[in-house]
Every structure is written in structure tokens, then in C-alpha cells.
Symmetry: C2
Subunit: 231 residues, 2 copies
């Protein structure tokens, strides 16, 4: 039976990856990282989503707050707020978490090897935020090679593969795909500030808004919050 572990933060991309993987694999586990993130609410919501889907989900702790150097892991660094996305200019770099996906993929590789899981599935995409190097195809392939060479599973030709099905999709296309798969985005959280009601001004909020606009669909998270009288 084909098996995978999904890097599941509970955001838009990884929620879509989870629904995508449900259709593609016989056995699936969701892995969420509790890494000292400011928006730790995502850990709770991710577990809730996985549980609603009847999936096995796990939380793995790694202290990237000790590493710091990012607005997402160091509370003294403010989350940049913008009126609009900066167009062709790079996104603010304060929310870059040093080598975060390298750490996550390494841990997922350890997880997969330990549990005899064949694939690591992640929702990485790069078209909407091209200045995050640890979501690019070249990086994913290099990590896969490192996993192949650095695991006992690799030595017997059974290293976990890294499957990133959305690498070449815009976020709006990911959303459209997710909606086809009946993904429930009403519980998904993107905002870096980590409140229940998204701030609307961090880059994660702005990218999310633009993606739903491009997809021509309302954001189910905002619809839910409105219904609940929270916005």
C-alpha cells in the first residue's frame, strides 16, 4: 500500500496537499511542527482538521525559537505590515525562517524512515513568493538526494521520496484544485500574527487574499468568521 507523511501546517497550501494526498495514497499521516512559531494557533487548528478527516496526525517539537532571526520565531522582531503586496519587489525578508523547510524535510525524512513510509508530501510552491529559497524545485531535489544518501532506507533503495505536487502552481490554482477536492479552508490559518481573526496586512494575509481574488472565490475562513460575528 502506498504511504506518505504530509507536512501539514494547516495553511492553505498544506491543507490542499493533505486533500490531494488523501486521494493518492492508501496510508497517510499528517505531521505538524511545533517550532516556536508566533502563530502557534496553526498547530491546534491543524490537529483539528486532521481529526475531522479521521487522519492520523502528529506534532513534532523543534525549537526554532532558539535559532531566531525571524519575525515568526522571535517576538521582538515585528511582523511586517503592508498596505499591498510589493508587486515585483521582494517580499519583506523578516518572515523568512532560516532553512525552515530543510529542518522540516529532514525531520519528515527521519519520521518516514522510522515508520516505513514511502513518500513525504509537501505543499511547497514558489510562484507567488519566489524569494523563499527553501520552497524551490532545485532545493527539494537536493534534499531528496541528501535523504537518499543519508538514510539506511536509501542504502537499500527505499529512501523516502519528496513529492511537491504544487511547485509550479500559483496559489490561486492551488485553491481551485483544493476546492475541487472539497478542501475545507474555513479552518485553515495563514496569518503570521496568530490571532483567530487574520490581520489582513501581513504578507501571508495579502498573498491569501490575492489568491482567492484570482481564483474568483470568497475565502471560506472569512465567511465563517463573519457568520460567527467575529468580523
Amino acid at each position: 500500500m502506498s504511504s506518505c507523511v504530509v507536512l501539514f501546517s494547516g495553511g492553505l497550501d498544506s491543507t490542499t496537499a493533505l486533500y490531494w494526498a488523501r486521494k493518492s495514497y492508501g496510508r497517510l499521516e499528517a505531521l505538524t511542527f511545533d517550532y516556536g512559531q508566533r502563530h502557534r494557533v496553526e498547530v491546534v487548528l491543524a490537529a483539528r482538521t486532521a481529526s475531522r478527516l479521521g487522519l492520523k496526525s502528529f506534532v513534532l517539537a523543534v525549537d526554532l525559537a532558539a535559532v531566531g532571526a525571524s519575525a515568526l520565531t522571535d517576538p521582538s522582531i515585528p511582523v511586517p505590515e503592508l498596505d499591498a503586496l510589493p508587486g515585483d519587489a521582494p517580499l519583506p525578508s523578516a518572515t523568512y525562517v532560516p532553512f525552515r523547510n530543510g529542518v522540516f524535510l529532514s525531520l519528515a525524512a527521519a519520521w518516514a524512515e522510522a515508520r516505513g513510509i514511502g513518500d513525504i508530501v509537501c505543499g511547497f510552491n514558489t510562484l507567488d513568493s519566489p524569494d523563499y529559497p527553501d520552497t524551490r524545485s532545485e532545493f527539494v531535489r537536493a534534499m531528496e538526494q541528501a535523504v537518499r544518501l543519508g538514510t539506511k532506507a536509501g542504502a537499500r533503495g527505499a529512501a523516502p521520496r519528496i513529492i511537491a505536487p504544487f511547485l509550479n502552481l500559483k496559489k490561486s490554482a492551488i485553491i481551485r484544485l483544493g476546492l475541487e477536492l472539497q478542501a475545507d479552508y474555513s479552518q485553515s490559518v495563514s496569518c503570521y500574527r496568530g490571532e483567530e481573526v487574520p490581520c489582513g496586512r501581513c504578507t501571508a494575509c495579502l498573498l491569501r487574499r490575492r489568491a482567492f481574488e484570482e481564483a474568483g472565490r470568497p475565502d471560506p475562513l472569512l465567511l465563517r468568521l463573519e457568520k460567527e460575528g467575529k468580523i
Copy 2:
């Protein structure tokens, strides 16, 4: 000024790497992982050694016990005990920790990038225990490539390098080098069982004993314990 972070577990190899790096770098930090290891005593001893040398040292927590599948991270899996090393046969695989060095190098890369550190130094060596894939040269080079492609530092040509000076040395040669560098091995711990007095029967103890025998030197740890009346 040249700078490095040393992967410092407090064992023989990384203790030697620490002394080696002290001679080679103007700025040095020691990084120890608290990963749920059975022999957690190494975390305390590593900090003590670094402090005696007047070095900056840090402990980073990552929960490999949640990953398990190793006698070093799952207390229900016994540490294999042998009368002697198995010669040309593989070492027992129960003490292999899935992709441990992949996780450690990823975290060290994050650490180095966050703090503007140039190199990651590690004491990996493979001649005495060739069946641990995550200490081999090919793996180290693949991880370095992943770090180059997956960091913002890499995008500006300043990715942390991974320096593994002992890759082609036997453990006995590492010890001889360390003794030339006046490394203090009396506080270094290797035993997987994690007691103050080494068990003498796990593979780490057996490899250590053979290496000191080959180097023609007594083990300073045993000399100290003898002096303190503990063995």
C-alpha cells in the same frame, strides 16, 4: 573573522572537532542537541566542557524521541550489548537514529545562517562504523548542496559550508590528533547507556576502547573514574 558552529555532542569525535576548530577559527560556538537521547548526560557534560574552554555553547531541543525507532531514543528498545566488535559484519542497527545527522546539519545550517556564521564543523568519521550512512562524505556534500540551494545566505553566495575534517580518519587517528591538541577526554562520554560509568559492552564503548588501544594510549575517562574510586 572566520567563524564556525561545532556540532558538539561531547563524545570523542566532536570533542576533537571542538579542539580542532579552536585552532582554526576566530569565532566559535558549540551547539549541542537535546533530542530525547537515552544518554542525555552528554548534554550536561558537553556544556561543562565548553564552559571550561570559555566557549559560547548552546543547547537546541528537537524531539527525536517522538520519531523513535532507535535504541537511543526509545527506552523500550534495548541497547545491544556485545562481547566484542563484530569484525567485518555490520554493527547492530538498533542504535541507528533515523537521519539524525540530516536533522542536526539542517538545524546547524539554520543556526549558522541566523547568526552569520560561515562554517559548520562536525566530527563525522566512517572508517570504524561504515554502516551509518549519515556520516559519509557523499551525504555531507549532498547536505551542503541542499543548504546552498535552500538558504537566503546561499542565494547571495554565502551559504554555510560543512567542514568534516575527520571523514577519512580512523577513530584512533582522531584520538591521536586530539591528544596533540591537548583535548580533555576525561569528561567526554560515549556510552549509549548514559550512566556516568560506561557499560563497556555497547558498540560505542567497544569502538572507543579499540580506538584507544590502537592509539596506544589509556582512556582519560577511565583514568579519572578510577582516580575517583568509581570503577
